[in-house]
Assembly symmetry: C2
Homo-oligomer: 412 residues x 2
């Protein structure tokens, strides 16, 4: 198979063409789900799918599928290659779009070579992966996987007060297929890493074997506001200092305990937030992630113990609100091995890794064998116009996808 | 002298009567400098001063002086007892007013007993001590001491856009005396502690020997915003974590180094302040105080060294802006000893202490022998309607002021 390759020029050209659609007055890419900009992007995608000979299907949550059913493959469960084309505000051009357009590339390459898979191939673009306008994110794939009721999803009210179902109808992408009508035998998602690991370690391909579990909590610490000049250190109940101890504890604990765990305090606010008043209240978020559920629970337990000790030592009250909790996803080992093999045959170094970000693949993993392929992100930057992956790296990833999809679909 | 005592009932009655003046629609005490409420408070004060036989003088910055010049004392420099009657928003009734009204009490008690001091006695109420509307705080005493140009002070623009000079004229307290026209031989300020030390340690009297030096800095730490899920701990440049390290360093360092130093991080903000983004920027304030200038410099130096190490260790950029710097004030040892003696003779336990808050006495110390007397503040609370000192503690403090003023003015 290795001699067959995708058309890198065509792939790059389409990425840039799609990336020009949905620019605002300041030139920012804002192709937010179910907006006019999203419609324009979808229309272009549909044109490319149709041009590649794919049969179009749109389901009621707006997921777009381009389906290739080769002669004799009609009865088999398809292999699905997908991702999303909606973006955040001020996005880069690769996140999501790369996986969808590479899927079309795979189909066109195979068809161009006259190859006939034993299974249908489907290229999927899921609705509202980013969640920039409607919650939750990864909505289209979640509905497809049966994890969210269609009616509830369509009733989602956006940050702008709009209703998703009405917006999908308005832009012409409220389809008639029932969500989940396609039952893939396998799902493979090619994506930029959105992190720094592959670039820093010099691997062109990541064989993604897990997707981190996520634990989001909001911690509130209540102490006593007092005069910064007249209150001796020994008599303080300083909510800000207690919060700072949690931040340094998390760093120290996670660094010492396991290389794959990450802990982040991204938001922190003090009250009354005045230079000469000891903070009476600190409110902050804790984002814990680990690809292993047991370790994620250990992390949560260690934080809980630390907060208990802190309350006693600092004389503060601590309360915790759980915001989000997702168990880790373990991808299909056989597909991960195929990714490694495919990379190896093409002379590309690969490493097994975890995905720190959420992806449609985590929803699809609920209903079929799934895995992901990562390519490097320059400086780990994503959700930003500086998002970048080198053209040869994009081509390499798409060729690995080609090889993996070919094997899964019964070619070669 | 110890048999002579002030009229505690009269003092308490006046404190509560003055405390009823300047209430807003919600019942909050808001007798902000140079407002109509301040005028009403000043008018009442002037009536009490006049009633006590004091000659009234108002200077061009609005400081109010009630002057008792006994027969034969006209040529001597006066002893001044004072504080302020302006308040913060939602204030208590004791801060400032206690020292002024106790000063009137001293005069009335001495006159009532037919005693004739060798020096004039002056009761002073300084303009805008709180700085709630016009900056800087302690303005009236600062102008009196020659530390701030009169024209500059009068031109101060308030938080509400008003001009102090115009407001003083409007309320009838733009006087005609030149600031500093009175040259006291000594200045004594009786004040509630506004901190928890006397109450917690069981001392009714504080002999204030120093006033803390203050160092205010704003620290900005710049790291790199990155995805909370995809960025390994070892590759982070987390401005929030770096800021937390500074907070815990300050606590540990100050606690270990000297019991009289205090360090506070009262305000802290993160950017972008989002749950799943590593903070790119942390901006926070550092409030350092110590009654000894050398130790305050050591503290500042230790912070600077820590920030340098931090920049190297965490890969962040650190910048520091100096906001405020006052050297500590050392009060007059002879007056402090008089306070201790007076308390002792009345059977009141006293302790030497530092003032953590700023007071008019620190400005007056520039031009004459000065000191302060503290009485306990319940729970250390001030600038709050819950501000409270027990009646017997208020009376005890005023009696110590009576004895000290008597000695300084040449009675007994």
């Amino acid at each position: 198979m290795s001699e067959l390759s995708i058309d890198a020029g065509r792939l790059l050209g389409r990425l840039h063409e799609l990336g020009r659609i949905g620019r605002d007055a300041q030139g920012r890419l804002v192709r937010i789900a179910a907006t006019d900009a999203d419609k324009a992007g979808r229309d272009l995608l549909v044109a490319w799918m149709t041009g590649a000979g794919l049969d179009l299907a749109v389901d009621r949550i707006g997921n777009v599928f381009g389906i290739w059913t080769p002669q004799g493959a009609g009865g088999a469960d398809p292999v699905m290659l997908g991702s999303h084309i909606d973006t955040v505000v001020n996005a880069g051009i690769y996140d999501g779009c790369y996986g969808v357009l590479a899927g079309i590339e795979v189909v066109e390459t195979l068809r161009g070579a006259g190859l006939v898979p034993a299974r249908p191939l489907v290229v999927a673009a899921f609705t509202n992966e980013e969640g920039a306008r409607y919650a939750p994110d990864m909505m289209g794939s979640l509905v497809h996987a049966g994890g969210l009721d269609l009616g509830e999803a369509l009733a989602s009210v956006g940050t702008d007060g709009s209703v998703l179902g009405e917006e999908l109808a308005r832009i012409g992408y409220a389809g008639d297929r029932e969500p989940g009508f396609l039952k893939p035998s396998a799902y493979v998602e090619l994506h930029i890493e959105q992190g720094p690991v592959l670039e820093r370690e010099g691997f062109p391909i990541g064989a993604v074997e897990t997707l981190q579990g996520i634990s989001w909590q909001r911690v509130t610490i209540e102490g006593t506001a007092n005069h910064a000049g007249t209150t001796p250190m020994s008599m303080r109940r300083d909510a800000g200092h207690a919060a700072a101890r949690v931040v340094t504890f998390l760093r120290d604990h996670v660094t010492a305990s396991h290389a794959q765990s990450v802990a982040t305090v991204g938001s922190l606010r003090l009250e009354p937030d005045v230079i000469n008043v000891i903070p009476s209240r600190a409110t902050f978020t804790v984002d814990l992630r680990d690809p292993d559920e047991g370790r994620l629970r250990d992390l949560e337990a260690a934080l809980a113990r630390h907060l208990e000790e802190l309350a006693a030592q600092e004389g503060v009250r601590v309360s915790v609100e759980r915001l989000v909790r997702f168990e880790p996803v373990v991808f299909d080992g056989a597909i991960v091995a195929l990714v490694e093999e495919a990379a190896g045959r093409r002379g590309l170094r690969s490493r097994r890794m975890t995905s720190g970000a959420g992806h449609d693949a985590q929803m699809m993993a609920r209903i079929c064998s799934s895995a992901m392929i990562f390519v490097p992100s320059r400086d780990g930057i994503s959700h930003n116009p500086r998002e970048h992956t080198e053209p040869d790296e994009l081509a390499a990833g798409a060729n690995v996808l080609l090889d993996v999809a070919s094997r899964l679909a019964g070619i070669g």
